[in-house]
Amino acid sequence: MIRVAVSPAVIDVAAELEVLERDGAVASFTGLVRGDDGVATLELEHYPGATEAALERLAAAASARWSLTAATIVHRVGAMAPGERIVFVGTCAPHRGAALEACAYLIDRLKTDAPFWKRETVNGASRWVEARDGDGEAAARWE
């Protein structure tokens, strides 16, 4: 079972985990807006249609590779504040190894394969976040 959502709504991790709890092992990753560099707000832009399709492809690829019972990717878009959840990925499998690996795969690949762009406001000035070199390397280890 695959669930993908791209929405400005606050992410309800308890509800997402409940949907995933269908077998012995559930792994999840939640990304939160970091406020440590003085970031006051974060805005997420995306490519409607293409984003959902990219996330569906990712979830389907992980489900096939690790024989998952369930996979969920929820990504928030629009404006959010430090401490708020940006992204939730979760996996369910009969055993922990598959659930944990597939969860790491989903978040690594999402960083490079899904069309989202972050813009931060720091001290009143707004700037587009640059992609990190490490993200490409993290995604490539799953080839």
Partner: protein
């Protein structure tokens, strides 16, 4: 052909989308970017550094040397930063 721009590419061009009809000599995304850069000063500013650009043809990520033959929708944007 429908063009979509995102993030600072959209801001520099000044619009999020536009319809264009490139000449038949324009066959790849890279050639499309070069052709667009000549369209206006705003386009020139957006497409000055092709190495900083990424693209999707009909919603699939492609390298800049990919063909645009038959494409209905081409998106041009900076490297993605989601998650």
């Amino acid at each position: 052909m429908r063009l979509l721009y995102f993030a600072w590419v959209r801001e520099r061009v000044g619009v999020g989308e536009e319809e264009v009809a490139p000449p038949s000599s324009v066959t790849t995304v890279a050639e499309l970017v070069a052709w667009l850069a000549a369209a206006s000063e705003r386009h020139a500013a957006a497409f000055a550094e092709p190495a900083r650009l990424r693209a999707a043809v009909d919603q699939a990520f492609v390298p800049l040397d990919a063909s645009i033959a038959g494409a209905r929708e081409v998106a041009i944007f900076p490297p993605v930063t989601g998650g």
